[in-house]
């Protein structure tokens, strides 16, 4: 199981899912209509490090963070 957290304004409780790669996480999240509008605009972190490769392998206990568009300052 990996944990998926939705940051900032997405307003979703964390999910625990089975996924071996980020690609599998994407496939699961895309089945959720409420997330479809967010995913094209969201960046992704794995265990608090930004990631850019869908093939990234996951292991038990990994934390995936979904980061919507930002506006600090």
């Amino acid at each position: 199981m990996v944990k998926v957290e939705f940051l900032g304004p997405i307003g979703r409780a964390p999910m625990e899912i089975e996924a071996a790669t980020l690609k599998e996480v994407a496939d699961i999240l895309k089945t959720d209509d409420a997330l479809l509008g967010w995913l094209p605009k969201c960046a992704v972190a794995l265990n608090d490090t930004m990631v850019n490769d869908l093939q990234t392998a996951l292991k038990e206990g990994d934390k995936i963070s979904i980061l919507p568009p930002v506006c600090g300052g």
Binding site: P9, L39, C42, M50, L67, P69
Partner: protein, 144 residues
């Protein structure tokens, strides 16, 4: 890097930062302060911050500054900041002026684009995500 609940005490932060580098022999100090403007009838802006990734973002900038002989500092508010109060300070110390002037610009712009901070308008007691002023971070869309 420091996060404060509510508005920043700009004088206190400047005083502390300048004192901390008083004997570091830096010739240039450049700083940026962001203050909440009264517009669109808002009472305040409000901020969520995801600190672990902000810290990594900041650490990369600190290393970049270090390679140029300087240092960077940052302070940001968490939660509500009323209009005319300050939410954000960033600063660069460096031996000479060009490094500081160039670094502050890039530092502030990258902060705006890639620091994991979400902004909300506060009006009539409601907290509304400032979606139209927000920017997808580098790498956005990976899962879509």
């Amino acid at each position: 890097m420091e996060l404060h609940h509510g508005p920043l005490d700009v004088n206190e932060i400047f005083g502390r930062w300048l004192a901390s580098e008083a004997n570091s022999n830096f010739g240039a100090f450049v700083s940026f302060v962001g203050t909440i403007r009264a517009e669109n009838g808002i009472e305040a802006l409000s901020f969520d911050i995801y600190e672990p990734i902000l810290q990594q973002w900041f650490d990369k900038w600190q290393e970049r500054a270090r390679q140029l002989g300087g240092i960077v500092k940052i302070a940001h508010a968490v939660g509500d900041v009323p209009v005319h109060a300050s939410s954000y300070i960033s600063a660069v110390f460096s031996p000479k002026r060009r490094v500081a002037l160039e670094l502050i610009d890039a530092f502030v712009e990258d902060f705006k684009a890639n620091a994991p901070i979400w902004k909300y308008d506060v009006a009539d007691g409601k907290r509304i995500y400032a979606q139209d002023r927000s920017t997808p971070m580098d790498g956005a869309g990976l899962l879509s």
